[in-house]
């Protein structure tokens, strides 16, 4: 199709060799995830690292629940950004609008799959959650508001927002013409129709913004209103979920926008202004979340009811310290990288330039070490003693930090790269923080004097999560192979 004189814009319908390889790899990972899930279905949840709270000394919710929150969190960015663009006429951000909408929808699909993966009786779950739904359960909000309401609203928004483009795309001959005609459903882009659409999407955007706050809050309330779990029982839980959702979502959106900018022939339409605006929003949200963390820790540590203090200790200096401080470092460094652009220009120019080769080399070293340690953590191979492993972990952390410091001058000059790095950092931190919200309150600080427990994810859990990520990437890329990622320009169409 690439040879056609009037090829569709934004790489739609064009499948290059490299793209096909990507598809094959992603499909392979998805199949591996499916295999892991089949294994779990056959054997029961015993294949996961989860066990009962109490005498078994385990955590009954683990990675899956943490990633349910993460995926729902990522979905935040999408529709918020799209709705904000619509409500506040941020027209210069329009190019990321549809990327964001699709991100929301796919993230919500992944979140729903992750919930199903966590259920002991998935088939019953799908039936009984509707058949015997109880509004008194905090889960009701998760399913009604988040998965159904939010997903449905986002789908309608995506549909309405894309109708004009579908109509324009349907005008030119292609294999997908029928699909576009179906999507456009009689829309012809007359001024009257356009005005009507504007009106409808405005109201929908207005409705979506409160829905989004309530949706993320309900997920926070799943944890926040459980007085029997110290560490969860906190008023700050719901607002914290909303803010951290924004952090991870906008971080991921920045990464996706950068990928689109690099890979699409029309990539320059994702201009630097977008990164500047989204980066500032991300910086703001990250700082707010750090403030929340300080407020929460101070409350639990200062008055120190015994069980709350036990959990806080396990975070600050105990078993989860590496994850906690890793997450804090991720958020702080993310904020730091994002604020580089506020450096005065004369300082920026005076920074010594370092060849990007060094940071990349250091980073590869750090990643290799981390990979080895992760394999050891999963008990798949154990080449090191526990002490060596601890030392190597510090070495990996130092290498990664050094890589970041060395790349600071480059990042201060390249806003897009800085946004991507910040996006990766805050997303890793968000994942870490999600795990820290879910797990420690189950293994530590039990109100009855059970011993402290432990939770270690197994290969099966991790495979399913990785498979879900691959599924998301697959759906995302495929969607933008059949539908333009940005608005189609009417004048181009006129020429056609």
């Amino acid at each position: 199709m690439a040879e056609q004189p009037h090829a569709l814009p934004y790489g739609v319908g064009r499948f290059s060799h490299r793209f096909l390889i990507l598809l094959a790899v992603l499909t392979g990972v998805v199949v591996w995830g499916l295999f892991a899930y089949a294994h779990q279905l056959a054997e029961g949840l015993v294949v996961k690292g989860l066990r009962d709270i109490g005498t078994m000394g385990g955590a009954t919710w683990g990675l899956y629940v943490a990633f349910v929150i993460y995926f729902v969190g990522v979905s935040f960015a999408g529709i918020t950004v799209a709705a904000l663009i619509r409500l506040f006429h941020l027209d210069h951000l329009r190019p990321v609008s549809r990327m964001a909408e699709a991100l929301t929808i796919i993230a919500l699909i992944l979140a729903a799959s992750c919930v199903v993966a966590d259920l002991g009786q998935p088939l019953r779950g799908i039936i009984n959650l509707f058949r015997y739904a109880r509004p008194q359960s905090p889960f009701f909000g998760t399913f009604s508001l988040v998965v159904s309401g939010y997903l449905f609203a986002s789908l309608v928004y995506l549909y309405l927002d894309g109708r004009r483009d579908a109509a324009l795309m349907a005008r030119r001959p292609s294999r997908l013409q029928g699909f576009y005609r179906l999507w456009a459903a009689g829309y012809r882009d007359t001024p009257a129709e356009r005005a009507r659409h504007e009106r409808v999407t405005l109201w929908l955007a207005l409705a979506i913004v409160p829905l989004l706050v309530t949706a993320h809050s309900t997920l926070g309330f799943v944890f926040g209103i459980q007085s029997g779990r110290p560490g969860w029982y906190s008023t700050l839980q719901a607002p914290g979920f909303v803010v951290l959702a924004g952090v991870s979502g906008i971080g991921l959106l920045l990464i996706i926008a950068a990928i689109m900018r690099v890979t699409l022939p029309e990539g320059k339409e994702v201009h630097v202004g977008i990164f500047r605006w989204l980066g500032t929003l991300l910086l703001f949200l990250t700082v707010v979340y750090l403030y929340f963390m300080v407020a929460e820790l101070l409350t639990t540590l200062y008055t120190g009811t015994r069980h709350e203090a036990e959990i806080s200790r396990s975070l600050l200096v105990g078993e989860y310290a590496w994850l906690f401080w890793g997450s804090v470092t991720g958020l702080v460094l993310g904020a730091l990288v994002l604020s580089l652009r506020f450096l005065p220009t004369n300082v920026q120019t005076r920074l010594p330039s370092v060849s990007p080769r060094w940071p990349v080399l250091l980073l590869i070293g750090a990643l290799l070490l981390t990979g080895l340690l992760a394999l050891q953590g999963l008990d798949l191979i154990s080449p090191f003693s526990a002490t060596t492993a601890r030392w190597l972990a510090s070495v990996a952390a130092v290498l990664a930090l050094l890589a970041l410091v060395l790349s600071l001058p480059y990042l201060s000059r390249n806003l897009v790269a800085a946004s991507v790095i910040a996006g990766i950092l805050v997303n890793l931190a968000a994942i870490g923080k999600r795990i820290l919200i879910v797990v420690p309150s189950q293994t530590h600080g039990n109100l009855l004097p059970y011993g402290t427990g432990w939770y270690q994810p197994t290969w099966s859990e991790i495979s399913i999560i990785v498979g879900l990520f691959a599924l998301g990437a697959l759906l995302y890329t495929l969607f933008f192979k059949i539908f333009p990622v940005m608005e189609v320009h009417a004048h181009e169409e006129g020429a056609a």
Binding site: L45, L50, T55, M56, G120, L129
Partner: protein
């Protein structure tokens, strides 16, 4: 309607854990699941130590956090006060388990038939048992109970659902006492109707000062302890059961 409650006399408990055994036999619970669990506590430092024991069944709270959060109503409060689990309806989300401050819920992580202490299908075991396949399943456990006629009795049902102490609903509905109470050699456990002023539990609660676990959470447990004190930060478990499936 009866208002069932359990009274546990800590002065009498010697930590023999016969109640744990009785519960496992009666309810066919899988390996590592202790619907009834007996804490063995030590307080103070050697040589000035004090050892005491605290049985922990499900508290059958009047304001059960587990039933509140169940998204499908599989966990529910019966009018007579029992907190029941309908394993026919449970979807295995384990929300009840994280909501419960007492840690009494047990999930069937794997197929319960594969999850007893002995593998009854194994050849060397079958040589001894002569091909019989214990564990013996009490047919009473398969009946529906309560006004709702829901299947709530017994354990070891199927993988992927939550189970917990039922107060032996199948025995209580026939006027018998729960297995743990019946089997306690020292009469430390008592079970009865709080609405009946002549029941042992009512008399005990009138006669002795009592406490309930984590009362400050507002869960209103139906299990009362007499003759002792609640565990504190000084109470350390000895011989902690740390078995996993």
């Amino acid at each position: 309607m009866a208002r069932y409650a359990m009274v546990i006399d800590l002065d009498r408990c010697t930590g023999c854990r016969a109640c744990m055994m009785a519960c496992k036999v009666e309810n066919n619970t899988p390996q590592a699941n202790f619907w009834m669990y007996v804490f063995r506590f030590e307080e103070g430092h050697y040589p000035n130590t004090h050892i005491w024991f605290m049985p922990r069944p499900c508290m059958h709270c009047d304001n059960p956090p587990c039933a509140k959060v169940c998204p499908v109503g599989a966990r529910y409060k019966r009018v007579d006060g029992l907190v029941a689990t309908d394993w026919d309806r449970c979807i295995g989300c384990r929300y009840c388990e994280v909501a419960c401050p007492y840690g009494v819920n047990y999930f069937n992580w794997k197929k319960p038939s594969k999850n007893y202490y002995l593998d009854w299908q194994a050849k060397d075991v079958q040589e001894v048992t002569g091909g019989a396949v214990p564990p013996y399943r009490n047919p009473d456990l398969d009946q529906p109970y309560g006004a709702e006629r829901r299947r709530t009795a017994g354990g070891g049902r199927l993988k992927g659902v939550i189970e917990k102490c039922t107060f032996c609903v199948h025995r209580v509905e026939r006027g018998q006492k729960p297995a743990c109470v019946q089997n306690c050699p020292l009469f430390a456990l008592h079970f009865g109707d709080l609405d009946d002023p002549n029941s042992t539990v009512s008399q005990l609660l009138r006669r002795k000062p009592s406490f309930r676990l984590l009362e400050e959470l507002g869960t209103e447990p139906r299990v009362y302890y007499v003759g002792g004190h609640p565990p504190s930060s000084e109470s350390h478990q000895i011989e902690e059961v740390r078995v996993r499936v």
